[in-house]
């Protein structure tokens, strides 16, 4: 597996492969890799001739310096996993390579995708995400880029950005992977103690209970949200950041659920921020419901 730390090296490698007629699929990550990332890489391998991954903990998408400092980092293990997964090249830029002195350009989005959920809870977050993803696309020049469905709002925003800016990249989504207890895989889970994880399980369990209630006829958004809150707020150290019912078409908040909407939530569990969502009416999440 090739390793590149500069834009110029990564781009030269990508361009050399594309000149040979090869297609590139790209999986951007912030490291601390888990099976969810590996499933995106497997999807990338099936989609293109060569696969590039990146590992970059992007400072411009963290609204909170403590959250940035605490973000899990595990480079040696990450590189071993990417090698074993058959990744052809990994792009590992430094912060200085990505944001040199005098850096001043940012990508911003207006409208329904960025006026709710994580966009409101984490001011500036998606500005940082859009900016770094466009920069990574510029360095890697992929034909296809794959993002995890767990970060649903992020995927929708990146897809919209790529279309709006005519970026010559096809954005694809990879399914959320879950542990047997129902927790959506996330690098941040590594920060949870066993006791914290017990509390955090209220998130997927609450979403799945709301999904069951929806299937049994419950359509009132507040009732569905109360079900999620009820599974979480019974614990000390748990704070619900948001829980909202959103229609996928137009990404609008709605008060009455239908079968083309998601219930999305963010929660702080002992200081660790976790997000998850359920498509109402979908197959059951693999969650143990007591």
């Amino acid at each position: 597996m090739e390793q590149f730390t500069t834009i110029a090296e990564q781009r030269a490698w990508s361009r050399a492969h594309q000149r040979e007629g090869k297609t590139i699929a790209f999986v951007p990550t912030m490291g601390a890799l888990h099976a969810g990332h590996l499933s995106l890489i497997a999807q990338a391998k099936a989609a293109a001739d060569v696969v590039v991954a990146s590992i970059f903990v992007n400072p411009t998408q963290f609204d909170n310096p403590e959250d940035l400092a605490a973000y899990p980092r595990a480079l040696p293990a990450d590189l071993a996993m990417l090698t074993a997964a058959g990744v052809d090249a990994v792009y590992l830029p430094t912060v200085g390579e990505m944001y040199p002195d005098g850096y001043c350009t940012f990508i911003e989005m207006v409208g329904p995708l960025t006026d709710k959920l994580c966009a409101v809870a984490r001011p500036g977050h998606f500005r940082g995400v859009c900016t770094v993803v466009a920069k990574l696309f510029g360095a890697v020049t992929p034909d296809i880029a794959i993002f995890g469905e767990k970060d649903l709002q992020q995927v929708l925003i990146i897809s919209r950005m790529a279309a709006d800016l005519n970026l010559p990249v096809e954005v694809r989504v990879g399914a959320t992977l879950r542990d047997p207890d129902g927790m959506a895989m996330s690098s941040r889970n590594a920060r949870l103690s066993p006791a914290s994880r017990e509390k955090a399980l209220g998130l997927p369990r609450g979403l799945e209970l709301a999904n069951q209630a929806f299937k049994e006829g419950e359509r009132t958004g507040m009732k569905l949200i109360e079900i999620v809150a009820g599974e979480l707020l019974v614990h000390e150290g748990v704070e619900l950041d948001y829980c909202d019912l959103v229609k996928l078409a137009g990404f609008k908040e709605i008060e009455h659920a239908d079968d083309a909407c998601v219930l999305a939530a963010a929660v702080f569990v002992d200081g660790v921020r976790l997000i998850d969502h359920v498509h109402l009416g979908s197959e059951s999440l693999p969650v143990v419901i007591e």
Copy 2:
């Protein structure tokens, strides 16, 4: 000369040429072409295997709807000029193709390049410029793009944007062309009556008189600015939008001139906005000084 109106067609044409190993130089324009544009196209032809021009009057860079409505349009003549100049393809998107319903992504810049001169005089202007140029780059996928030096702040901003966002495009500058009377060529000049043009000539004449004063030892910014104002404000219907002394390194406003700075001005002449600048200490502009 090929003509394309959709992103998909233009990109397919560009990609087909690049797969054959050919390089593309790109000259984006808003039409109403003049010899200044043709000099950029000549520079493009010398720089790459094939040349793409675009004509698109970009609504998002006009802060004033009347200015947008009044912007000169001359498509049949433009196409004849581009064909005669040997352009290989012209990209002519519609507003709907560039900004479909729900469009929501914009590129913004912070810092010294966008806190003065036209950035302050035309709020949102460079946000629109950055956004449309990135979109045009995405559609045309050029190796090189060429912009006129007359719009100095624009060139510096686009160059910075391309570097910051890792856009795989080399941004180059083409020299300002002037008519024999000293007026910098601009599509907007077509809107000047002969009487208005007489008044407008105070702009290059004032800049050149300031340049001469600089060469004779004048270093005080206010004095240099007064020379420019003195050539313009003697006429009815002339309004000075700004005149500022800016150091190129860091693009900072300065009070005392040195030989790495520009004197830049924008003026309304009978409602037509014109910009021009001089590098202090440079060769004389070809201006008749009475």
